[in-house]
Every structure is written in C-alpha cells, then in structure tokens.
C-alpha cells in the first residue's frame, strides 16, 4: 500500500501470500527430533465470508473438491467472530498441506484472497514410543524419516502454528486453560521452527485464537 493511495483514502485490499506454507513439513521434522512434537493431523483455514452468491458458490465448489479425494475428514464451522472455518484432517503432513493449499489457492484464484485471515496447523506431543523411534531413524532409510514426519494417527492438538496469509509468516499459539496462553512454550516453539519457517517478528501480530475449531 503506497503512501499516496493511503492519503487519497483508496487503500486496496491486501492479497494473500500462499507460498511460505510449503515449508511446514520440514519444520515438522525439526520439531519431532528436537521436541518430540509433530503435526497432529488437524488443520484449518479461516476466512471472512463476504456477502453474495458469488462467494457461496465458490465455497461450495471448494468443499466438494476437497471431499472428492476422499482421504481424511472435512468439516465447516462458524466461529463467534463471524469467520468461517474449513477444518481438514489428514494423517499425512504433506497431504494436509496440499489440501489446505487447495482451499487457499481456489479462494485466491477466484479473487477472494483478501478474505483469507489465517491457516492453523495443530501440533501435538508424540506418544513416547514414536518419539523414541525418531532418534533411531538416522540409521534407517530416508523414507522412514519421511513417514515419521506425520503422526500416523490423529492426535489431540496442544499447540498450533498459525499462518498469516497477508504477511506470509507463521507464529506459534499455545492456549492454556481459559483465555490464557503459554508464552514460554510459544517462544520455545518459535526458536525451534525459526530455521525452517518464516516466523512473524512483530509480536503484536501474534493474536490469540480462542476456542479453535481445529482439533
């Protein structure tokens, strides 16, 4: 947004940046080896549904496209702030990111990029067995390391990585009880994924997302 359009009162809606999201699988591997954590298999896209038939048709199209490939769960929810969530479940992290990307790119390709707020990926502590297996993976083939990047089963998310579309950055969010966040854990996660992901440096933008519909 240029200073001129700002002063003329003609700010343009900001388009979404989708590319940075593909770094997530490698961050998941780093998290697994360093903290015994992994993607929980849950992820969601949050957007502001505008009025009008055009958007509703688009949304229905995306949903039918997602349910077509059949793998993993999918459900829609509306939160208390009036934002729409498309929640996707998939045990394979690559697949999960691809499906989330499908939602994002369909929306932004048809001109609704400015409506995208964020994507959220659930993180979970791996069961001790799986975490023990991970250090042993270095003697195994690379293929085993790759499968270890996914949880293999759906876990309950205890922490989240939030992707801000407009910034192309991630930030960690760890809710703790009712409307409290575990800042220490968030900062720890931030330093763990900092090499793999573009982390949001402006802490003011790490806004909380209470009552996430993402499992």
């Amino acid at each position: 947004m240029g200073i001129f359009s700002s002063i003329m009162g003609k700010t343009k809606p900001v388009q979404a940046n989708l590319d940075e999201m593909f770094a997530l699988p490698s961050a998941s591997i780093t998290l697994q080896s360093a903290a015994g954590m992994s993607c929980s298999g849950h992820a969601g896209v949050c957007f502001k549904p505008p009025t009008g038939q055009g958007f509703e048709e688009m949304q229905a199209e995306v949903v039918s496209l997602l349910s077509m490939d059949g793998s993993g769960g999918l459900h829609q929810e509306k939160d208390s702030f009036g934002y729409q969530w498309l929640v996707v479940e998939d045990t394979d992290i690559e697949q999960l990111v691809t499906r989330i990307h499908l939602v994002n790119s369909s929306l932004s390709d048809s001109g609704w990029g400015p409506q995208l707020l964020c994507s959220v990926f659930g993180l979970a502590q791996l069961p001790t067995g799986a975490a023990d297996a991970a250090p042993g993976a270095d003697t195994e083939s690379a293929a085993l390391v790759e499968t270890a990047a996914g949880p293999g089963q759906l876990l309950t998310s205890t922490a989240f990585l939030v992707y801000l579309f407009k910034r192309g950055t991630f930030y960690p969010f760890v809710p703790q009880g009712k409307e409290h966040r575990d800042t220490e854990q968030e900062l720890k996660l931030k330093s763990l994924v900092a090499d793999d992901l573009t982390v949001e440096t402006d802490l003011d933008r790490w806004f909380p997302l209470w009552d996430l519909p993402v499992g």
Binding site: I7, M8, G9, K10, T51, P114, L117, K166, F207
Partner: protein, 312 residues
Amino acid sequence: MSTARNIPNDHGLSLRMFFTGLMLVVLYGAVIGLLIAFGISYAVVLVFAAIILFVQYWFSDKIALFGMHGHIVTPEQAPQLHGVIDRLCALADMKKPRVALADTDVPNAFATGRSPNNAVVCATTGLMRRLDESELEAVLAHELSHVAHRDVAVMTIASFLGMVAGMITRIMLWTGLMGGFGGGNRNGNQGGGDNAALVELLVLVVSVVVYAISFLLTMALSRYRELAADRSGALLTGRPSALASALVKVTGEMSRIPTRDLRSAESFNAFYFTPAIAKRGVSLSTLFSTHPSLDQRLAQLSKIEAELGRPS
C-alpha cells in the same frame, strides 16, 4: 446552558452549528489580526498558529481520549473488542492500534493519533451494548480505515492550509492596496485617513470570506474522507450491509440521546463514526457537516453490496 431546556425543538441546530463554525473561523482570524495589529510580524503569527495546530496533531490521541474519558484497555479487559480488531488488522495487514473504551452511553466510535504507529481506536460502551457482532466489526473496520488513510494528519494539514490561504490573501491585499493607494497618499496627507479605513475594511471582508471558503472546503474534504473510510471498511469485512445497519441503528439512537451527552461529545465530531447531531431536514446542512448524510452513505454501501454479490 440552562436555557437549552426551554427550546422546544432544534430545527435550527444545524444552522447554529454552521454559524458556530463560522464564528470560530472569524475568531481565529480576529485573533491573528489582533496579533498583527500589535505589531507582531506575519512570520511570528504563522509560526505561533502552526505550533498550536502541531500540538493538536501531535497529542491528538491524548486530547481526544481525555475529552471523551476514554481509557486504553488490555486484551484481558476487553477480549471481544481486541479479538475483532486483531482479526481485522490481520486481514488488512496493518499494525494493530491501541484499543480504548469510553464509558458513555452515546453509541459511537472514533479513531485518532498522529500516525498509524500512534493510533488509538476507541469505542463507547453504548456502542458495544447496542450493536451485534457483525455491526461492531463493521464500525471498527471503518475506524481502522481512518487510521490507514491517515485522516488525522490529512485533516490537520487541510485546516492549516486553509488558514495559510486566508493569511496570504491578507498579506497580498495589504501590500497590493497599500502599494496602489500609498503612492498617492505620500504627497497629500489629507485624504489618507479615509482611504486607510476603507482599505482595512476591505481587507477584513475579503480575508473573512477566504477563511469561510476554506472552512467549507475542509468540511467537504472531511465528508469525502468519511465516504472513503466507509468504502474501505465495507470491503475489508466484505459486508457492506452490516455497516449500513450499524449506521441506521446508531443514527436512529442519536436523536434519542439526552442533550447533555450530545453537547459534551460535539467537539470531537470530526473523527467520529457518525456525528453526535441528529439529522434534520435542513438542506444547508449538507454544506457544512463533517459527515455525509445517512442517505448518501447508505447509497454507497448498497452499491458495494451489489458489486460483491455479482458472481465471480
């Protein structure tokens, strides 16, 4: 103002507003004229006026918050307000302003602060109580658009330019007229007194007219900025009708609010969401109000609504 109770209705309110504004401008001009008459140079007066405006601009957030009894609230104190603003800022990719709450029943919101880095968005408890989620969001998106458009800076500069225009007119007239008549006066001193009085009167009238015109232009600019903020805000939330319904609700409520509250809020109209003056059918009002008429704002919003509804 105990006499205010005896006035049966306020048909002339907008008219009075106009003359109040005009008188303010005339007063401003008179003070400057007086300073000049005391032999203080134009440059000093201009610097003095600039300093006053600069202080107004630089401390706009503190002055407005103080005047409205608004106080900065933390996310813990107002989780709903913060939640809505957090999300809107992420959608618009802008820095989150400070959030304030004013404890008054006048349903309104305003944005202030000299730059987006120092911005404050303030909502009143009356607004939070009356509007539902999507309407509140629409109003806050409108206020955030004011922040993004740097409206405090633009309006301050605009009013300063108006003042400078008035002063330049004065200087030009003085030098021009004095130059013309002065040459003749130097030879014969007898008729000089008459001429000087006439010239002084002429200069006063012209400069007052220029001040008045710049005042009207500033008001017109303010109305244009309001429409621009309506538009950007509606595009941000994607729901122009939510803003329209908030406008209808708030302006409907405004006329029912006790006069005392209205008066205490009037001085901040320029950065308000809707002015705290009930809309009456005085046609002149469109010329000098800081905000466009409700009909005009609703018409624009319904146009945006139609644009969004078109299949992609």
